[in-house]
Each structure stands twice: as structure tokens, then as C-alpha cells.
């Protein structure tokens, strides 16, 4: 990984490092040559690591006070909110932390889409990322069930029932998942176990994600391969560390605002009503970050096909490195792709909006059109664009556009100057 051999200065350091090269690893991490033109969209990797650690630490504390039992879960959450020292703080950080985690991961994913970071030689990083994202959704869903409110219970019922769409064995799988004939105490205890397990799986995958990243090194806004180390790169420490730190602090200000001033705005009021199997809420809606997929699920009239469509919408991302046939990574040099990119962003936001609305009338129609366009983007537009698009000339190095006196292409947002 590191190009040069590293030898610790102290005798003990050398002795230790010969046996376990932790110091070599630390040296690699600090010296890691990073493109110097990375913009702030690249700071979300570090922010996501912070989110994961925050969720794990707050989650550990909550697990010390939470009771995974259908009769006591709701009460134990209220106990945390009222009687545990700073329990309200820990819980609000954890609950809002999930939302902040997803906000950051969506920015991270869409950054990758814009700058073509998923393309060769970074396909494995991308696919690991998709697996992490899937696990995040699983962890978030399982975690939302734990307070055992109305939305917890009915959300769990709706989502686990999706498996019943599988032909022949579907019903059996649902019973197996529930550990009974309805969502009940056995469901809650296993959901708690899995909710505790998944973050550590994510942590392991994050290590692989970063490892896979450190082989080819970071992509950059210009999207060209750069020599490492060179005048195009800076060592990770202190340059990227301080920049990531600055961005993280800004992120934390937003995070803190949610935690301290509107801690319940992202949740659903019904989840403060204890789960009641006899009363179904008027509208069962998932958390905001799952809404686009919920909209896709509901836009297909057939249950099985709806589930297939929803899963495909996520899994299609794993095939993205091969669906996108363009050799050019960065959208900065792809004038057409850039427009389709923003249409996709709008499409996903629309899906999220209609996902929160009742599936009827105009909302359903919009959801169907948006779902169709989502797949069209990945299955038709991207492959065709790679062949047809007339791309802009790419600079030879990332210093060229800077030293040439022209604005840094990565940060230049003036379309006219780029389209010429």
C-alpha cells in the first residue's frame, strides 16, 4: 500500500512493528496520499464513520437500560427518557443519529454518482458500500421496532409480511421470522439481537471499504487518475484530517439542532402510543429515509412484483459500474449525464414525497411514473449515454486547470463556461 518502507525510530517500536505492523499501518494512514482537489462532498466518508461510532456508543448505553419484552419495552424507553441520567440525551442522539446517518449516506452515494467514483478500478469499494447501505436499512428498520410503539409494531408487521409474497414458502418464512403467528414478543427479542449485531457487521465492512479505497486511492472531482504521491496529492494528515474535521463540526451543529430543539420532528407521533395489535394506525409510513423505496413498492399493483421492484431498485446500484458505459468518471466533463443526474436526484426526492402520501389518485400515478423513470435511468439512459455522449476534454492533471488560471473545474458551477 504505502510506497516506501517505514521503520519505527525507537528500538521497542521496531521490535513491536516487526511482529505486528501496527505502526506501519498508522504511518500509512497519516501519509496516505490524497488528491488535493477533493471538495466538501468528499468529507462525508469521515462524517459517516462518526455517525456509525455515535450510533454504536449511544446504542450500547441504551441497551443497558432497555428491556426487550413486549410488555416492558415501551415502559423501559420512557424510563430512559425520564429517570436515567441524561437518558433523554442518549436516546435523542441515537434516534436522530439514524436520520443524520442516512442523510450523510445519501449525500455520499450521490457524490459517488456525480463523480463516477464507482467506476474501475473502484467497483469493489462501491459494492461493499451497497452492502453497508443495505445493512444500514436493516439496522434502522429493526431499531425502529424496539420502542414498541404503534408505528414500530405495524411497520414490523408490514415489512415482515413482504416475505409472504414469495411463492410457496412465503407464509412459512413469515411465521419463522416472527417466531409465532403474529409480530409479538419473540419477534421483538430477535429484532433486538439482530439490531445489536448489524452495526458490528457494518463496522467490519467499513474497514474493508476503507481498505479497498486505499488500494487505488481516492477518486477526485476531475475524475482522472493521478500519480501518488505527487504534486497533485497531499498527505492525509494534517490536510484531510482538518478539512474533514471542519466539515464534521458543521454537520454536528445541524445534528445538535435536531437533538436539542426538534428531537421528535423526524419520528412519527404514533410511535409514542404503545403498540396495540387491535388498533391499526390510519397511515402506516416508514421513516423518511426509506420512503423512496416504499413508494416503489406500492407503485406496483402486484405484491410479489412490488417486492421484486423494491429490491431491484437497490440491487441495481451494485451493477452500476457495468451499466454506466462511459469511460469518463466525473460528470463535470459529461454535459448530458450531468443533466440526467439532476433529474435522477429530483426523481428520488419525488419518490420520497409520494412515499409519505397515501397510495391513491394522483400520488399513485406520480409514484408509477417516477418508479419507471428510476429504472429507465439505470437500465437505458446510462448505457446509451456512454456511447452517444460527446464529452468535454479532460485535463491531464488536476493542477493543470488550477495553474492555467481558469477556475477549478471541480468547483466551477458555471455551466456556460463548461459547455463551450
Amino acid at each position: 500500500m504505502s510506497d516506501h518502507e517505514y521503520t519505527p525510530k525507537s528500538k521497542f517500536g521496531k521490535w513491536f512493528n516487526d511482529r505486528l505492523p501496527l505502526l506501519t499501518l498508522a504511518n500509512h494512514l497519516t501519509d496516505y496520499p490524497t488528491p488535493k482537489n477533493l471538495n466538501y462532498w468528499w468529507t462525508f466518508g469521515g462524517i459517516l464513520t462518526f455517525c456509525l461510532i455515535t450510533q454504536i456508543v449511544t446504542g450500547l448505553v441504551l441497551a443497558m437500560h432497555y428491556i426487550a419484552h413486549a410488555d416492558m419495552a415501551f415502559d423501559s424507553v420512557e424510563h430512559i427518557m425520564r429517570d436515567v441520567n441524561y437518558g433523554w440525551l442518549i436516546r435523542y442522539i441515537h434516534a436522530n443519529g439514524a436520520s443524520m446517518f442516512f442523510l450523510a449516506v445519501y449525500i455520499h452515494i450521490f457524490r459517488s454518482l456525480f463523480y463516477g467514483s464507482y467506476k474501475a478500478p473502484r467497483e469493489i469499494i462501491w459494492i461493499i458500500g451497497i452492502i453497508i447501505y443495505l445493512l444500514m436499512m436493516a439496522a434502522a428498520f429493526l431499531g425502529y421496532v424496539l420502542p414498541w410503539g404503534q408505528m414500530s409494531f405495524w411497520g414490523a408487521t408490514v415489512i415482515t409480511n413482504l416475505f409472504s409474497a414469495i411463492p410457496l414458502v412465503g407464509e412459512g418464512i413469515v411465521t419463522w421470522l416472527w417466531g409465532g403467528y403474529s409480530v409479538d414478543n419473540p419477534t421483538l427479542t430477535r429484532f433486538f439481537t439482530l439490531h445489536y449485531l448489524i452495526p458490528f457487521l457494518i463496522l467490519g465492512l467499513v474497514v474493508l471499504h476503507i481498505w479497498a479505497l486505499h488500494v487505488p486511492g481516492n477518486n477526485n472531482p476531475v475524475g482522472i487518475d493521478i500519480k501518488k504521491p505527487s504534486k497533485d496529492t497531499v498527505p492525509f494528515h494534517p490536510y484531510i484530517v482538518i478539512k474533514d474535521g471542519f466539515a464534521l463540526l458543521m454537520f454536528m451543529i445541524v445534528f445538535a439542532f435536531f437533538v436539542f430543539y426538534t428531537p421528535n420532528i423526524l419520528g412519527h407521533a404514533d410511535n409514542y402510543i404503545e403498540a396495540n395489535p387491535l388498533v391499526t394506525p390510519a397511515h402506516i409510513v416508514p421513516e423518511w429515509y426509506l420512503l423512496p423505496f416504499y413508494a416503489i413498492l406500492r407503485s406496483v399493483p402486484d405484491k410479489l412484483l412490488g417486492v421484486v421492484a423494491m429490491l431491484s431498485a437497490i440491487l441495481i446500484l451494485a451493477a452500476l459500474p457495468w451499466l454506466d458505459t462511459s469511460k469518463i468518471r466525473s460528470a463535470v466533463f459529461r454535459p448530458l449525464y450531468r443533466q440526467f443526474y439532476w433529474i435522477l436526484v429530483a426523481d428520488v426526492l419525488i419518490l420520497g414525497y409520494v412515499g409519505a402520501m397515501p397510495a391513491e389518485g394522483l400520488y399513485l400515478l406520480v409514484a408509477r411514473v417516477a418508479t419507471a423513470y428510476y429504472f429507465l435511468h439505470f437500465l437505458v439512459i446510462l448505457p446509451v449515454l456512454g456511447w452517444k455522449e460527446k464529452t468535454l476534454p479532460i485535463p491531464l492533471s488536476i493542477t493543470e486547470p488550477i495553474l492555467g488560471g481558469s477556475p477549478n473545474l471541480a468547483t466551477a458551477k458555471n455551466k456556460e463556461s463548461l459547455n463551450k
Binding site: Y40, D75, I242, K243, M252, V254, F257, A269, A356
Partner: protein, 259 residues
């Protein structure tokens, strides 16, 4: 830096959108000034004490508050009754305890550590006494309703004669803020229903406001320390961010690129 502000404004926009769409209310609720809103929002101590009085004298005959203990009444950030007052309040309730050494259940005066006494022994008893409708526990009621405090405040004042064409069954009442407009709770408040010891006129509006404030506190007993800590945390973060920003500028000035 331009890019940075774009990201930041995107996040703010997202927050703003989520606030506006999620908090979107279909009904226009009655508005009043809540002392606990805003960056420095605090409970109005006197309103909490009056609200407690309304709860005990009016609501508590049907609605439980199972997550509250009498000790909470004397705790900081709440109604802040004195310990003696809270003890006296607790002692005014008969609490079922036991079994004693003879194996019998017995009643005794309440203590600070007791939970609020429940009006009914179980859900079925509550339903039987209320025409089949269960009066919801009010401990977290404010957070369990979409419109929050504004909804509760409006509901209490929202009783009207039903419009022409709407027929109501026995024991069902018309309320313009209730979901579906039909509610099984009769109008409870009338001017002068309770007698406030601090001389405040007990109008329906005043009692609604007081009891809703009390319910907000019961749902968020740590709201005041949350606001105080939040302000400190955010100021701290802003100062640290500024310092880190200048350090970053300094460090990156060694490179001929903009950060």
C-alpha cells in the same frame, strides 16, 4: 468554500423541508404563546402548578398518568412544588400496597416515590366506565398526537354543536379538532370550573393552556435542561468550528490550492 456553503444550505433546506412537510397540519389549530418554545423556552412555573390542579380536579378521574411519580412534582424543571407540598399532595392519595406480612393487600397514604394513582384498575374497567372508549394515558399524550400542544389546546376548546346533517350517537360529542370530529369525551371545561389559588381567572382558555403546559412537561420533563444544554452545545460547536476553520486555512496555505 462555495461548494461548502452549497452543501450546508442543502442540509438546511432538507431540514426545513422535513420540518414543514412533517409538521404540516391539515387543520388550523388555535394558537397561543407557549413559554417553552424557542431556543431558551422554559415552562411557566405557575402555569404548570395550575395545570396540575386542572389535571387532578378534572382529568384524573378518567385519565391516568402512569409514568409520573409524585416526586416529579418537586423536581427541577417541573412545577417545582416544594418537597413539603409534593409530600402533602402524595399523601392526599390512597395507594394500594402489599402484600404485608399477613399476606393481605392494604392501602396507605401516598409517598413521593409512588407513581400517580391510576383512576381505573385496568383497561377493561376504564372502557366499561366510558362507553367503550379508553381514556388514553396522558403521560406522553402531547408527543403521541400529530399537532402536539396546539392540537390538545384546541381540542379542549373545540366542542361545538354538530353541523346540520351530522347525527351523533349517545355518548358521542362533536369536536371540530378531533380526527373525524367525533369524540367520546364530553366537554369538560367551563368557566370557573376550578378555583386557582393564585387568583388567575379560570376561563376555559386559561385552563386549556395551563393543563396543556402541564402535559407538555409530563411528556418532556427534561425540556428545560435540553434547551439549556442545547444552546451551550451549539455555541461551543460554533466557536470550535471557527477555530478549526482558521487552523485549516493556515494549514492549507502551504499548498497553492483553495480549500
Amino acid at each position: 468554500m462555495k461548494n461548502f456553503f452549497k452543501i450546508f444550505s442543502f442540509i438546511i433546506l432538507f431540514s426545513g423541508l422535513s420540518l414543514s412537510t412533517l409538521a404540516a397540519e391539515k387543520v388550523e389549530y388555535l394558537k397561543t404563546d407557549w413559554s417553552f418554545k424557542g431556543l431558551f423556552g422554559k415552562f411557566d412555573r405557575a402555569a404548570l402548578q395550575r395545570g396540575y390542579q386542572v389535571y387532578t380536579e378534572v382529568c384524573s378521574s378518567c385519565h391516568s398518568m402512569k409514568y409520573l411519580s409524585y416526586r416529579n412534582l418537586a423536581e427541577k424543571g417541573g412545577p417545582e412544588f416544594s418537597i413539603e407540598q409534593a409530600k402533602a399532595i402524595a399523601a392526599s392519595f390512597e395507594v394500594k400496597d402489599g402484600p404485608n406480612s399477613d399476606g393481605d393487600m392494604f392501602t396507605r397514604p401516598g409517598r413521593l416515590s409512588d407513581k400517580f394513582v391510576m383512576p381505573y384498575d385496568n383497561v377493561q374497567a376504564a372502557q366499561a366506565a366510558n362507553g367503550g372508549a379508553y381514556p388514553p394515558d396522558m403521560s406522553v399524550l402531547v408527543k403521541a398526537r400529530g399537532g402536539g400542544v396546539d392540537y390538545i389546546y384546541s381540542l379542549l376548546q373545540g366542542y361545538e354543536d354538530p353541523p346540520a346533517g351530522v347525527t351523533l350517537d349517545d355518548g358521542v360529542y362533536y369536536n371540530k379538532y378531533m380526527y373525524g370530529n367525533k369524540i367520546k369525551m364530553a366537554n369538560q371545561l367551563s368557566d370557573g370550573l376550578v378555583e386557582y389559588s393564585d387568583g388567575t381567572i379560570a376561563s376555559v382558555e386559561q385552563m386549556s393552556k395551563d393543563v396543556t403546559t402541564f402535559l407538555m412537561w409530563s411528556a418532556e420533563p427534561h425540556l428545560e435542561s435540553r434547551h439549556q444544554m442545547g444552546f451551550k452545545a451549539i455555541v461551543y460547536l460554533i466557536i470550535l468550528t471557527i477555530l478549526v476553520y482558521f487552523s485549516m486555512k493556515r494549514i492549507w496555505s502551504r499548498i497553492e490550492t483553495e480549500v
